[in-house]
Symmetry: C2
Subunit: 91 residues, 2 copies
DNA sequence: CCGCTAAATAGATGGCCGTCTATAAAAATT
DNA sequence: AATTTTTATAGACGGCCATCTATTTAGCGG
């Protein structure tokens, strides 16, 4: 992963609500309706945040009837963790 | 480190120029005049980016005569790496 | 077919962001 | 004291962002 891609992901994670969405999905997939319960934002705003996280490859989605379940994209997350882990102090 | 603090740092790293500043400082401290050579932005813009990185605790500074040398704050960086490393896929 | 639930889209709004030019401040040198 | 170098600050501007309300789309059950 290079700097522009990593910056894109950082920007996506640079909002407390979105970072908490990722934290929640750490425990496994959840539908948007369940995610919404954890926040004090409207449904369209949550949908907007989900879109931003999806567009940079952090989220996968799976439809099941009327619900859509979202989960973390393991590969993108792994590459991003690797990039951040490489940012080490020289001391 | 909690979500709001991590989001603040992510926002600071969510710009390619700023992420590259951090990458450069991985190799040790540098003065702003040296950092500037690596970018195609003006000096005030670089100063602005440095300020944002400093305000979230990522950068330390040390003055030496007319120059100011910037370096990574090891502790902040370590805590942030730890936070990101904890964002793991459930699969 | 209708109504209900879940999610996305459209459009608006206020605010923050990245960048610039111009200027100031601080330190060293002549 | 004047000049040069390095960095910070002020102010402006265009654009993007987070959020909202209103509406639409999609699937399911009666």
């Amino acid at each position: 992963m290079n700097a522009p891609d990593a910056a894109l992901i950082c920007r996506a994670l640079g909002d407390t609500n979105r970072l908490q969405i990722v934290e929640l999905l750490t425990n496994g997939e959840q539908c948007a309706c369940k995610l919404l319960e954890h926040f004090s934002i409207t449904q369209p705003t949550l949908s907007h945040h989900i879109k931003i996280l999806s567009e940079c490859g952090l989220l996968d989605s799976r439809r099941e009837g009327v619900r859509t379940f979202y989960s973390l994209n393991c590969e993108t997350l792994r590459e991003f963790r690797k990039y951040i882990a490489a940012l080490e102090c020289s001391c």
